[in-house]
């Protein structure tokens, strides 16, 4: 495509020629990307905290008193085989008694009860996904050797509900902002199309293809999107580090993700989102123009 350089230059030139309009749409688009991005980052962190909570939300599975060593091993295997189980740790009744005795500060207690241990063997289990909490508990209950389960069902429930609400709210916000961005971009491009309708008319008259006519405007949209993404990225970086400093890097004792650990994901997502929005927005308004005005070179 030997003309691509020319079309690219034309696009950049147009941004500069219409710099006031371009600046206005960069500001709005930057705000849209920022809000979307920050919402996403909050959500990612909330998710991250949930995961940690989920890991700490241990479930104690008490085994029946008469289990054999083979039973214990079988339950362990079954637990490990469950897809939502992230960690399985065995705690024998001797260990439990030992710990209990140590807590009481009396070695004799251990010796006295050793022969007729009142404790039960147990497994300490952690889950991956709290939204499947109940379901996984049922699966464990169905194991014949288990006697009872000790779990904080309510906490898991609330956490996963909170996450769902956040996710839906986030999605709604993102969709709205994408629509706003498309609207803003396509309006900006509409104005530059309007200011260049003479050029477009001449291009049509001498036989330029729609592709050729459209490309500089799509480039213009992409440039606006790119610049917005870069500005939004810088602001996000500063804001994120600032907030991290305020929180001291953690919430309710759970660590937060550092910006350094995901800067390139943020940058890529911003660039992709900005450039794509810019291109689609201008393609929309160009498509409408070329269709409405048809091939009228005398316009």
């Amino acid at each position: 495509m030997r003309n691509f350089g020319y079309l690219l230059r034309e696009g950049f030139r147009s941004v500069w020629k219409n710099r006031l309009m371009a600046a206005a749409s960069i500001i709005v688009l930057t705000a849209c990307i920022l809000i979307t991005g920050l919402a996403a980052l909050v959500f990612i962190n909330v998710n991250y905290v949930f995961e940690q909570v989920a890991h700490q939300n241990v479930v104690v599975v008490w085994l029946q008193r008469d289990v054999t060593d083979a039973d214990i091993e079988a339950v362990g295997d079954e637990l490990n085989a469950m897809s939502n189980v992230s960690g399985v740790e065995f705690l024998s009744k001797e260990e439990i008694l030992d710990r209990y005795a140590k807590e009481m500060g009396s070695e004799e207690l251990y010796e006295a009860l050793k022969e007729d241990n009142p404790m039960q063997d147990s497994y300490i289990v952690t889950f991956y996904d709290l939204s499947l909490f109940e379901q996984t508990l049922d699966d464990i209950r169905d194991l014949p050797q288990t006697e009872s389960i000790e779990a904080q069902t309510k906490l898991a429930d609330q956490l996963s509900q909170l996450r769902n609400i956040l996710m839906i709210a986030g999605a709604v916000v993102v969709v709205l902002l994408v629509l706003v961005s498309l609207f803003i971009i396509s309006n900006t491009i509409k104005l530059t199309v309007y200011s260049r309708r003479l050029e477009i008319g001449i291009m049509k008259a001498v036989g330029a293809t729609n592709f050729f006519i459209r490309t500089p405007f799509v480039v213009e949209g992409a440039v606006i999107g790119l610049l917005s993404a870069l500005v939004a990225y810088l602001v996000t970086w500063l804001a994120y580090d600032r907030v991290m400093m305020l929180f001291g890097g953690e919430v309710i004792g759970m660590g937060l993700l550092s910006f350094q650990s995901m800067w390139w994901i943020v940058l890529l997502a911003y660039l992709a989102g900005g450039v794509l929005t810019g291109m689609v927005g201008s393609a929309i308004s160009m498509g409408r123009y070329l269709k409405d005005e048809g091939g009228d070179p005398t316009l």
């Binding site: 050029e199 001449i202 008259a205 036989g207 330029a208 091939g295 009228d296 005398t298």
Partner: protein, 226 residues
């Protein structure tokens, strides 16, 4: 080559613009199209440029059967014709060279070709010394010559001039017309839409008069019968 076969054009609002028009213009001809405003001249041009389609009938331009023309082929049709407008339609922010080069760029010409062809065409219209000038620094006649150079630069087989002298003074008009005749002599079909009777009389070329959407007269030797 332009061919109109039984062409009727009725606009969506019910306005009847052309009524059974049959015309054949051969390659290399020079033809005036005359008629009052509202007679159907504009519709006639719009049909040739495939900007409007006939309600009934067939239009063939430079071997393109326009009723069968797909949207994607429209640019290819347009490349076979050069259009000169009454109001010049020059891009004010580009100098003379770039205004003409623009027409080559948008059809994908190479830079080397552009730098060879544009000065040649500008010399043809006598503007070789004004390549760096901007439209606002030129007279009306000069601007129309730039516009003519732009129409010529892609070497079309048909030049359509829509009231080319409408906005310029009589002496300049004569110059433009002489250029069009010269271009025609080099083999390009030229179609001039005008209501400047003096020009039509002066050049003695085939003249088609349109009145109320019909071909009122078609005189090969020029002039309009009384």
């Amino acid at each position: 080559m332009i061919e109109f076969n039984g062409v009727h054009k009725v606009y969506d609002n019910g306005k009847k613009a052309l009524d059974d028009v049959n015309i054949r213009i051969e390659k290399g001809e020079f033809v005036f199209i005359v008629g009052k405003s509202g007679a159907g001249k504009s519709t006639f041009l719009k049909l040739i440029m495939h900007e409007e389609s006939p309600t009934v009938g067939e239009v063939i331009v430079n071997d393109f059967r326009l009723s069968k023309l797909r949207r994607r082929q429209e640019p290819m049709l347009r490349r076979t014709m050069g259009i000169v407008f009454q109001d010049f339609r020059l891009i004010q922010t580009m100098n003379v060279f770039d205004n003409v080069a623009f027409a080559m760029r948008v059809v994908g010409a190479k830079n080397r070709e552009i730098h060879k062809r544009v000065p040649y065409v500008l010399q043809l219209v006598g503007l070789q010394d004004k390549m760096k000038s901007y439209p606002k620094e030129l007279s009306g006649g000069e601007q129309q010559r730039v516009s003519l150079a732009r129409a010529l630069v892609n070497n079309p087989s048909l030049i359509i001039a829509d009231e080319p002298t409408g906005n310029i003074d009589p002496t300049m008009s004569m110059e433009i017309m002489q250029l069009l005749v010269e271009i025609n002599r080099l083999g390009t079909t030229v179609l001039v839409v005008t209501h400047a009777q003096a020009l039509v009389d002066a050049f003695q070329k085939r003249t088609i008069q349109i009145k109320d959407g019909r071909v009122e007269s078609d005189t090969p030797e020029g002039g309009v019968p009384a």
